[in-house]
Each structure stands twice: as C-alpha cells, then as structure tokens.
Symmetry: C2
C-alpha cells in the first residue's frame, strides 16, 4: 500500500477533532520549542567549540508534498462531511539560523525538522555559498547600535557639521548587488536627523548625506559612502564649499500627538461613520478553516509569505489550491552610487510574516473583526507570539448588481458583501496592505495598498533632480517601482488545468471588397492561445487580453466551454532598469506580467529563495520557466507580476495616501445557472 493509498483509506478513521487539526496549520509554539531544542542539540554536537551563539532567522511549516496533500485534503473534507476525522500527516518545519563564532566567522544553515511528536532534525545544510540569508529587524537594530558607537561614523557626522542638537537616526536598509561578484552580507543605513525629542517624530524630513555600510553578521563598519548632494552628478557634502544648510530642513510630522503639540488644526467636521453588525460576523472559523457563504478557505501564515490561503473551495468545488504573495521588488531609479544599490525584495530580503504589523494596534477596520496571532521565534530561538497579524472581517462594497424593469419600474438590487483577510507589513519606512477578498459571486480579489513613508535622500536645498521630486526643503524622494508577484496555484474543479490567453481581435475587413462574414467591418472574435509548455506572456489591454485558467476535462453544459477562472492582468509597467543590469537580473519575475509553470513542491518564490544581495544567481522564475515543462491539462502554477511606478508627489509626504491596486480572479463559465 502506497503512502497515498494509506492516506486516502485512512480518511474514515477517527482521531482528533477536526477543529484542532489541519495539515497546513502554521507551526505552533510547542512545535517551535521542540524544533529549537532539536536544532540547538544538533549544533552543540556538531560545533567544535562552544564559543558560538545562534541567530535564528525564521521557522515555518513545510507544506506536505502535493501528491500527498491533495488527496489527503479530499479525504479530510469527505471525513468532515460524515462527522469523521482523518489521521494526522507528519509535520515538518524549515528553520533558518546562523552559528556566529567567537572568531567572527558565521555559518548559516537551513534545517528541516520533523516537529510532530519529538522533534527530529532531518536535514541541516549550510545555505548556498553564493547567496545570502535575509536581514531581520533585530539584526538591523544590532547594526544600528554598533553604528551609533562607531567613532569613525561619529567623527564623519561631526566633520560634515551635523548640528549638535540633532539626534542621529540610522534606518537599516537593504544592500542590493551591483555586480556578479560575491561580497559579504552587508547592511547599509539611510541616516536621518531628528530635531524633536519625541521618538515618533518623522526623521525622514531631514536626511543625512552619508550611507554607512556594516557587515550584517559581525556588525562592523565596512565603509562610509557619501551620497550625491546635487540634483545630478556625484558631488557630495565633502565637495561643498560651505556648510550644509541644515537649518532649512523643516519638520513634517504625521503623528497626531506631535501635530497637536505643534498646534496643528485637525479637521473637526467629519462625523462618525460606524459599521454595526448586531448579529455578529457571517463567517466562522473551525481551527483555521474559514467558512463564509459558500467559501471554505484554510488560512495559513508564515515568515516569508505572510498570509497563505489554501484548499479554497466554493460550494464544495475546488477553485484554488494555494494563493500567496510570492515576492516583491522595489527598484529605485537614481543611477548614482550608492543609490544604485537601492533595490529591496521586501518578502525575500526580510519576510512578509516577519514584518507583519500587530493589527489590534492600528488595523482600524470597521465592523466585527477577528484577529489571528502568529507563533514565531526570536533571534535567540525564544518563542514569541506576534499578536493579531491577520484580521478578518466583512465589508460592504456597494451595489453587487442591479436591474430595473423599465416597464414596471421595479428595481432588483443586491449589495456586494465581501470577506476580507488582511495583513499589513511595515518595511522600515514603507507599508504594504495585502487584503484577499472573497465575494458572493465566487470571485477572489487581491487588493494591495502601498502607503507609509517615502525613502528620502538629502539634496542641497534649492536643487531639483531628474531622479525624483523635492517633497520638503532638502529632501529628495526618489522615483522607484514596486513590482509584486502573486502566486496562484489553481485547482479549477481539479488539479489538471490549462491556461489560455484570450485576445479580442477584429475580423479581417476591406471596405472596397468586404468579406462575406464581415460586410460592415464590425465583427470581432476571441483568439485563444493555450500555454503548452511553461512560459510567460504580457498584458495587452489594447487587445483586452485575459488569461483563463480552465479545466479542459470539465465542460460547462450551458456554454459548451471548459469551466474556468479569468484573470485580467494588471497592465502595469515592468522593470524599467536595463535588461543587462544586475537590478533587472535580480527581478526574475519582473520581466513579464504572467508566468505559467508546472507545480513543484516548495517552489514558492518568484525571485528565488534567497534574494538578499542576489545578482541573478537566485534560481527563481527564470529557472522554473526554463524547465520547459508541460503545462497543458497539467498541474500548473500561474504567477502574476504587477505594480506601480511611483514618481513621488509633494502630497505623498510625509505619509503617502494609499495607492490601491486590485487584481481579480473571476469565475468564467464555472457555474451553470442552477
């Protein structure tokens, strides 16, 4: 009997309550503690001396292989319907941690640990030698602490005349590669001044034209870069004839208490608007399986991707096996050193889970909100719980549909109620709000909101620059892009699906010799091109290009066409950087709007697993596509890249109003009327 058969046949057996177990539930506190203990023991046995300390980056669930999990989930549903339960699957976690030795060497490991029952280390491998592990906030703060004690840096600040009353605030950033040569792992700092004692004062209004670079592992200062101080060219503060006019910096505050203390007048004429749900929310959660209307959704969460939605079914029918935000790159367009290195991968370089806000502090959603916590671990391996990293609520989104019979004047109208599963990331200065929305017409939407504070740079007051906009005196907000990559693992009525590109194209016409089938030149048809092998395509809104994820094995009896879901790709600008640049090479998912690959277990990250300081060597999307796998009537994965080119406005500072983008997956001939 194969494992697969065993799993399916085990469906009828009873064990734990279905509320308390799902194979995709995030690693819990007990599992984390067990894994950390096993890892520590493993390291202790394998390290030559005990002069080391561990630095834990992350731990997260390893999804069971699809060939095991997919039938298991079917059995899980079937058993639940009968009031039965299924046996548990083995649980595995992957952990990322470094061994920092007294001699300043550091080895980073990927661990695979079985975590159900007594934890067992199954694999411990150094991370790839040519790639780097992500940064983390604790590491940045440790670097910051070291920097603030560094004599060379402090002397440099003094030399350029930083006013004595100013507080120096260095923000850890990401060090993008600018060549294919390997370097140590570095943490650069964007440094700012604050002239206000309040720690929530907006220091981004007073950038300092120095970028210190530290070794991320040893926290040692590597060098000081001086930034260009004019609109173009490389002249730095060291080249200035006189002192930098620090006094021209003005305060741009956003914190309400600070603004109040400054005597700012707030608008007082907005009357309260409350969302009231007297009978409570319409959804319910069993374990982490959310049920709302005809939807069933498992809500996972991990360090790298944040929210992961799995095994999504509508009215009992499979729709999507797994939905997640796979990756994101934020390349900046100022070509001058050291700014040319500014290209963050906010998921791969840090982690969407790692950066998730504790939402009860400022989710501020309306209505009845349910929060989910996340068990994670601190850098020392200590258990820690991030409270309320996910919020779940319902939202009214206006009219769902309407028709008025013009003869009887009778209107029929529905509201569009949606279920929102949301998480908010803070990545130093920036914020991203990711909201997965499920509606009553069986559509799924991902809404991204970009907000937060622009990454600012010092510029001599009075200067302007072609590389950005002046948003406050002496403050250059650089032009940049945000390119998101969403991973869509469909299961439209089953796991074998075909992606079809559909263009609306005119029929041939010649007015001097009109064709019989298009005599007046108004005809158009839909040109369909299925993906046969893994590949890519671009949005083409001028052809109304849509991509349909279909199941060719299930035909809609009404239309006679395969059942499917439709993705209208967001036709946003892709990587502007030159195709020969390292920036472009790193953004493996930033070349095209849509990629179709064949499912491979664990292949979740469009930019590759290790994006931090990658230089085209991260084995991401380009590697997945190059396999030339069959993707016709097969287990496909669809990746959609989209985003925004953000050339800042004065209005975007100090905090930018949300820039909202939505992509939608809508059923297309998936349903019959009945």
């Amino acid at each position: 009997m194969s494992t697969l058969q065993q799993l399916v046949s085990s469906a009828a057996k009873l064990s734990v309550s279905p509320q308390s177990y799902h194979p995709l539930d995030p690693i819990n506190a007990a599992e984390i503690a067990g894994a950390v203990y096993a890892i520590k023991s493993y390291i202790a046995q394998n390290e030559k001396s005990n002069d080391y300390r561990l630095w834990f980056k992350s731990i997260q669930l390893i999804d069971p292989p699809k060939k095991v999990l997919a039938p298991y989930l079917d059995a899980w549903h079937e058993a639940r319907a009968r009031g039965h339960q299924v046996d548990k699957l083995p649980r595995h976690a992957e952990a990322l941690l470094g061994v920092k030795r007294k001699d300043n060497t550091c080895t980073w490991y990927e661990f695979r640990v079985r975590v159900d029952g007594k934890a067992v280390v199954e694999k411990a491998e150094p991370t790839p030698a040519d790639l780097h592990v992500p940064a983390d906030v604790a590491e940045m703060l440790a670097c910051e602490e070291a920097l603030m004690k560094n004599e060379e840096f402090l002397a440099a600040c003094k030399k350029i005349g930083v006013p004595a009353h100013a507080k120096i605030i260095p923000d850890g950033w990401i060090y993008g590669a600018d060549s294919t040569q390997r370097s140590e792992r570095y943490t650069p700092f964007m440094v700012y001044l604050s002239f206000n004692e309040n720690e929530d004062s907006c220091h981004y209004s007073a950038p300092l034209p120095i970028v210190p670079v530290l070794n991320s592992d040893t926290f040692e200062l590597v060098r000081l870069d001086y930034t260009p101080i004019l609109g173009t060219g490389e002249k730095t503060i060291l080249d200035l004839d006189g002192p930098f006019p620090w006094h021209l910096y003005i305060q741009n505050e956003y914190d309400q208490a600070i603004l109040e203390s400054m005597g700012e007048n707030f608008r007082k004429d907005l009357k309260p608007l409350r969302v009231v749900q007297p009978e409570g929310a319409s959804f319910r959660l069993e374990g982490r399986v959310l049920r709302w209307q005809k939807w069933e959704i498992h809500i996972g969460f991990n360090a790298r991707e944040g929210i992961v939605l799995s095994d999504i079914r509508y009215d009992g029918r499979k729709t999507f096996y797994r939905l997640s935000v796979s990756d994101m790159t934020v390349p900046y367009g100022d070509p001058r050193a050291p700014y040319h290195r500014k290209q963050a991968f906010d998921l791969g370089d840090l982690g969407a889970g790692i950066c998730a806000n504790e939402l009860a502090l400022g989710c501020d959603c309306l209505g009845d909100i349910l929060y989910l916590d996340w068990d994670h671990l601190g850098v020392q391996g200590q258990n820690t719980t991030a409270k309320s990293v996910i919020c779940i609520h319902e939202q009214d989104e206006g009219i769902g549909w309407k028709h008025t019979n013009y003869r009887t004047n009778n209107p029929s109208v529905t509201r569009n109620r949606v279920l929102v599963i949301q998480s908010i990331l803070t990545v130093a200065n920036y914020e991203y709000i990711f909201a997965w929305k499920f509606d009553q017409s069986a559509a799924v939407h991902l809404e991204t909101r970009a907000t937060g504070i622009l990454s600012t740079a010092a510029i001599l007051p009075g200067e302007t620059s072609p590389y950005g906009n002046i948003v406050s005196p002496g403050v250059l907000a650089t032009n940049h892009q945000h390119i998101f990559c969403v991973r869509i693992d469909p299961s439209i009525d089953g796991h074998n699906n075909t992606v079809v590109q559909e263009d609306s194209v005119p029929m041939p016409y010649d007015k001097h010799n009109p064709p019989a089938d298009n005599r007046w030149g108004v005809g158009y048809v839909v040109e369909k091109t299925p993906f046969k092998v893994s590949g890519f395509a671009d949005a083409d809104p001028m052809k109304n290009r849509v991509f349909k994820i279909t199941n060719p094995n299930v035909v809609n009896p009404i239309s006679g066409k395969p059942v499917g879901y439709k993705l209208v790709p967001a036709p946003s600008q892709l990587m502007i950087a030159h195709p020969d640049s390292i920036q472009y090479a790193r953004a493996e998912f930033g070349e095209h709007h849509l990629y179709v690959t064949k499912h491979v277990d664990g292949e979740f990250y469009g930019g590759g697993k290790f994006t931090n300081m990658s230089n085209g060597n991260a084995k991401g999307m380009r590697t997945f596509v190059a396999r030339n796998d069959n993707v016709e009537n097969d287990d496909v994965v669809v990746w959609h890249s989209f985003g925004l080119t953000h050339n800042p406005r004065v209005e975007d500072f100090p905090v930018m109003p949300c820039e909202v983008h939505t992509i939608s997956l809508k059923p297309n001939d998936f349903f019959t009327r009945k």
Copy 2:
C-alpha cells in the same frame, strides 16, 4: 462697461439669498412651464394648420458662456464670503421637440428660450437635416404598442410557431447606421417571449429571432428582419427544416418574489451589516452647492449628461470648472445583419438624465443618504418630477494611510472617507452606475459600474458562436464593448492650464561601455511632452504614462514644479471595429484614450450633439480636435475615453455582477505641506 466688468463689479450688490440661487441650478418647474408655454405659442403661430401635436424630448439649462460665468462665480464666492449676494445671471434653456402633423410629416426643433422672468423664445431651428434626434422611452413604448397591434408582425410570429401560451415582449432598441446614406429615424425591436404571467419575469431568457423595425416618428412598421439562428452564417428561422425548439428555453429569473414563488433557496447566512451615522452626514447642501470637508461642488443635472459637477473648489482653490460623463458607445461584435447595427450611444441616443433611476426605489446605499429630484417634462410638455435621481452619501473606503514606527511600534492610521455623488441609469436591459467620489486627500474619482441584463439573441439550442457566449439554452449573449468618454474641464488654480504627457523611461545604457551617468543601468527619468495644440494621445502603461493637468503660471514652492492634477488613463481596449467601418466613424471619441481641446461653450458631447443613427457626420471629437487650437497655457478641456470589452460569461446572466472601473484625478504638487 463690458458685460464682464459689470458682472464682476456687481459682486458686491445684494439680491436673493445665496441658498436660493446659483446660475448653474437645473431648470426648475416654473421655468419649464414658462418655456413650454412660450414654445407652444411660438409653434401655434408658425404652423399653418392646427392639425399637429407636439412631442417634447427634453429641456435643459444652457450654461452661461464661460467668459461670463467664470468671473461671475469668483464674484459669487467672494460675495458669499462677505455675506453678500450677487445679481442673477440671465437663464436660458434649450428644448428639443417635434411637431408631428396629421399628414405624417414631422419636424424636430431646437429651441433656445430665456426662462428667467417671462419666458421668451430666442431661437427655434429645425435640427440638422442629416442628423436625428434621440429616442425616448415613451416613444419606444408607443412604437411597442403599435407593433403589438401590427397584423404583419403577429402573423410572422405565428408563422415561426411562437407557442400560444407565450407572451411576446418587444424591447425597443437603437438603430445604428450601416452606411452614410440618410434614412428616416427608426426604432428596431429585440423581441422576447415570457412564459410567466409576472411582469417582472426575465424575458431575456427567451429571445425571438425576429427584429421588427418601426418608424420612430409615425410608429409604422418598416420591415421585419429575421436574425441568424446558427453560430455563424445567415440562416434564419425561416430556413429551418423543423420547428424552433422553444421548449428548450428555460427560465432565468432574478426577481426575488418570482424566485421565491419558484421555491428558490436564498442564502440565509449573511448577517446584517449596517452603516450608522449617529450625528448625521458630514456634508451640507446650500441650494445645490455641496460642502464637504474642504470641497465645494455645484451639483447640476440635465437630460443628456445626468450629473454635471461644476465650479469645484478645494480649500477655496479652483480645481475643476466642470466634470461630466460626456458620452458612451456600446458597439456589438456580431457582424451579421441585423446585429451589425447594434451600436448604442446611451447618452446621445437617449440621455443619461432621461434614463436615470428613481433611487429611493433601489439605490440601497448605506448610511445617511440625501436625494435630489429632477424637474423635467413629459413628451406632451407636461411638468414632471423624477424623484431621487441623485444620491449623495459618505462612504468608508478602508485605510487612507498608515505608518508604524518600527522602533516604537506606534502606528498612525487614518480611514479613507469619501463623498459619493451617484446616479444610476437603466437603458432597457442594461444598467450603469456613475459615482463621482471626492476624498480627503483632494482626489476626485469617477467610478463606473456596468450591470443589468445582457442583450441576448436567439440561437438554435446546441449551437455555439464565435460572436458571443451561450448563457442559457438558445440564448446567445453577444460580445460587445462599452466605451465611456469623460469630459474634464479643469481650472487648476485658474483657467489657463497645460496638459503634459509624462512617461517613465530608462536612461541609455550599454554594459560594454557604461555611460558615466548610468553606470549600472538602473537609472530612469520622466519624459515630459506638453500638448501645444489640440490633439490626442493613448494610454501606455508600459511607460507608466500619466497626464498631468498643470497650471504653468503657479509653481509649487516645495518641488519647484507647476501645480497640477494627475490623470492615470485607464488603458482599456478602444474600438475594435475596423477604422473604415461606420461603427468606428460614429464613435468619434473611441479612437484614443485622451483628447485635449480648447474650451468652446456648449461643446459637451464627444460623439457630437446628435448621435442617434449618426454615420460619421455628427461633428464630435474629430471636429473639436481638427481646429488645431492652442492648448498650451490656455483654457483646455481634457476628454478621457475608457471602458470594457465584455465577452459574456455564463455567470453574467441573468443579471451581471457589477463590472467596476475607476479613473482618478489626483493632486500632483498641488499642495505644499503647509
């Protein structure tokens, strides 16, 4: 003293209360009654015999000329600020009506009537001989009544075997031109069957393959067209070997009462979600001037455009002189006669005001809603009031901006409250929801929602077609487009503005010989191209193309750039029909995404004033653009065309879930921080 000087100098004088008078207020009931009396008297004096009856199409305000109105509005605001009032401006209305004589001739007239005080006819001109007046619902119903008594039509229905128990329901439609030859004004009918006594039964599930064509003026039957009955080719029901299988038609109902009577199970698990505004709404209306937050907006309404927003100011600064939906075309892609004529201009062929829903019947917005009525006239010239054609309310649209300080973990977060001014049109089977939204960050959005019922055609059950989708047995929903044209008359800090196209483009790079200013190939800059003379441009999302409406005379002191508003054009597919087709010629605004013209009084309609059966002769956008006017630092008008190509899904029937599109006008360096 010029009129202009008189107006400005009259600002200090007092007259009526500012609440009771605004020069852009729609024509009121008394003015309509006066105008109709004057028009009737005029006609009575000028008609040779009294054997005629009048058919009134519409009456609406003629906006005062901009050179008068613009300074007047400044004076109006200034006077209001001082608690004074200004003298009234003369009021004029334009009316459209026909004289139908006993000998079956009909003359259509455009009247200009001064309506303040005793009404005076100032102009009465026959409508242009080569163009046609719009249809209207009363006319369609009159045609319908005539059709249902027409022996030829009833015999034809009998001949094709319409079941005796079926009720025949003809929906009046629009007759699109297919040649440049003039014809009389016609009304075609899409005919359906109903098998349910209830008048709200959805007859669109049972289309009849006959299109009768009636003379719109005389209501006489012109001819019967038989529609193609297969997926391709021209074979009609007359060519069928056997009877049409009417019995295969199924009922697709949407009306709740009917569905309940059929035993349909409704979802019962959606718990109430209420928007409560315990202190009421935050806006107030003085006359028709809406004040909300820092916005001031005059809300007009007319027969042709529906909502017209004028004299829009933010914090006392001018932003937009006039905003309106100018036009819309709905071309269908089935090339076969008689479907090749299916191209509606829902504003020009009927009128957005004329088709507006009475919203208290089914607006179904949440929160505190204010409704505005509209005084209009019936076809006999009788005064009539459409109740609640506009609804105004506030809406919460999620997070406005957020930032969490990662050092203190303190979040700052705002909600995004918006003010919505909305109107809903029913155009026979289809519905359009137009919502103008104003937000707290000084952005203006137009949200369009397309909903309602697809225009369906009969197809032999079992057939499929390249020209559409089968949405119910025997029901072909044809592929079609909706192209909207929004008219934006800006007044960014004044009336002289310049429109600048901005593209984000890479800096030159060669990796073998890297340029000094772009050594790593990551640099990009914004390429700016101002419109100098009237013209057009297309969206180019791959270049992140945006259009900035700037005032070159007012520089933002922070950024050093002209103050402006940014329009990100919706890059939707434009007219698919061949450029040599009549369909294409008619859609004068459907060739490009953006047009920039110089303001001309009364030039409001992208497709021309008379679109009904126009054939390229309507003197719309192409005429406006061809003037080659200066538009640099001048009184410009911006027109944005966008829409959707709608290839129906089974899910779109019987009522399609809203297809939502939003375009935004966002301040761009319009504000300084302070």
